[in-house]
Symmetry: C2
Subunit: 362 residues, 2 copies
């Protein structure tokens, strides 16, 4: 059978009785056995069960066996939520990023996860969708769960709402962009230097009329990259014309228009510096439709960039290193070895593949 969305639904053979309704409807975690139940069944005290479950010494082999049998018979699994309530640390951290589905955040998340795992810590993950309110809502919900720490890729520019949490001991590290209006650890790429190097690379290949398409000013990374662009131009003694710059929302339609604009007229740009991966992709599409060859350097690496014709030259960030560094700092805050908020800048890497080495068309 097939429903209206094209799904095909096949009932599986039912090899066991279907789950009783009370397991769903009831609370108490479906009436799971507790240490008390195990203790009763094994005929021992609660603390003895706790000792066995946690591998603490001081239990005779015979007692241990009896307890273990009760555990197995009942299918007991320790409730770590209760444990954590008593112990203080929840052994969980939260990662608030912009969009889980953005490929840039995959390696970053994975790196955070690996560090967390090495510390016996679980990871909550959530997207702010670039909405400051949603970021706050998510971050505070995680704090209410008493995560030990928070790695935040900020959407908003005012993080004072986190001040009480940080004071209360929630370790906090910002990534990619600094925190707004509070003093906090931040790990980010050298956006200024990376953009400057990328633009200088174009200049070194003979370009003077170089376009810049970037995100809205107000976004820290966008500002830094624009600053890098201006610095490279100034270093080369090239006065920047307004017509060469497009700053704003980076939806494909807008980027397309901006690129086409720059490529029109009597003195069009001969090269474009794209401010982030989404812009780069759109610009590639625009350039594919041009007869004239236009050089391109993009900020952020993109997959398969080397397979395109020409290969796409980029200023690459190391997303995994951002995540790893941030998570390591988080745990250093937690163990008390890091107290002063710092700003850590990771270097970017210029990867030349062809598009950035094209000479000016005129």
């Amino acid at each position: 059978m097939e429903d209206e969305t094209g799904q095909r639904i096949v009932p599986e053979a039912i090899r066991r009785t279907s789950r009783p309704a009370e397991h769903h409807a009831g609370n108490r975690y479906g009436n799971r056995p507790t240490m008390k139940d195990v203790a009763a069944r094994a005929g021992v005290g609660l603390k003895t069960v706790s000792r066995v479950v946690n591998g603490e010494p001081g239990v005779t082999p015979d007692t241990e066996r009896r307890v273990q049998e009760a555990i197995d018979a009942l299918g007991f699994r320790r409730n770590d939520s209760a444990r954590v309530l008593r112990k203080g640390r929840t052994a969980s951290i939260g990662l608030v990023l912009e969009d889980l589905s953005d490929p840039f955040y995959g390696p970053l998340s994975r790196a955070v996860e690996e560090v967390a795992r090495a510390h016996g810590t679980l990871l909550f993950n959530g997207s702010s969708a670039e909405d400051p309110e949603r970021e706050q809502e998510l971050a505070l919900a995680l704090c209410a769960r008493r995560v030990d720490g928070l790695v935040v890729i900020p959407a908003g520019d005012d993080h004072r709402y986190l001040e009480p949490e940080i004071k209360a001991g929630v370790a906090t590290v910002f990534v990619d962009r600094p925190a707004g209006r509070i003093d906090a650890d931040v790990v980010l790429s050298d956006n200024y230097g990376g953009a400057r190097d990328g633009v200088a690379h174009l200049i070194a290949h003979g370009h003077r009329r170089i376009g810049f398409i970037g995100d809205m000013p107000g976004i820290h990374t966008a500002e830094e990259r624009l600053r890098g662009y201006r610095a490279a131009m100034e270093d080369a003694g090239i006065p920047v014309e307004d017509a060469w710059m497009s700053l704003g929302v980076t939806d494909p339609e807008r980027v397309r228009r901006a690129a086409e604009e720059m490529l029109r007229g009597p003195a069009p740009v001969t090269a474009i510096f794209a401010g982030n991966n989404r812009v780069t992709v759109t610009v590639i599409r625009v350039l594919a439709g041009q007869t004239r060859q236009v050089a391109l350097v993009g900020f952020d690496d993109i997959e398969l960039a080397d397979l395109l014709q020409p290969g796409v030259t980029v200023v690459a960030q190391d997303a995994a290193a951002l995540g790893r560094t941030a998570a390591e700092r988080l745990f250093r805050q937690l163990d008390g070895s890091l107290v002063t908020p710092e700003r850590v800048e990771l270097p970017t890497r210029l990867i030349t593949r062809g598009s950035g080495e094209l000479p000016p068309a005129d």
Copy 2:
């Protein structure tokens, strides 16, 4: 200053006193205020604080104001971990996938997150790294935290370890591949039909010697796709030769050798069906180095596939739909409206972009 890894570390101005050591070292969540503290300060009972915090009726405006003031003064935030212990449901679910950094799982994770969010539920995320032991370790750690449910992309093929948890009421949905040796909900793509359609597409464009490079048999998706390949060939009355098939580990080196092998000899394949996105990418690289034109259809879409020359024809899965469907089923299990384990198959989509429409070279 710059350290050995090239990191630049800049101490931030310290606008507030650095966090006292006891906030890090101590447990008790850094001595955070509790409802009891709020009650004492406001001069009311515990339950009254609870009422205000939870917006329950039956508190005079005056009392409410006093409580609210105490909350603000103390920086109180309800401990949802404690709340959850008492209430039974943790309002959290876990997502165990193969690799957070794999772009295929980005949209899937995001879709699960959105459904969870709509249900006021937080999401734990973790990677199995294709290691069945790590999958089990992670899934059981999440169960110990008493997540309400689990979405699992299985790495292993024996999930009996989850049986006690499922019986105890942990909602469980498998995605991408079915559970092993237990009867459980599963949401996956129509791997068989997708592969069959893709191969039939190549046949329709005149190919007869068609190579198949896929993952190890034993992996469910790999087997289904191979079955689809065989079915399409059989439908066309083409006997498959062993030399046209490569099944096994899909690391780039091995895939490269396999592809080159197929393209050698007196009767080389004129088209290749690639069993997954990683294989496709490697095959593209191999084909780029060939003088002869070889047709290609890949399972799974890849980014920028349309910008390559020729564009890459693929059988696309809808990763977001997989995640969304799985999460929705999870919550339907939780609310009791879904009791019988089912297998839901989502259709795939053939996207023609050029590489699959090339005629045979001979």
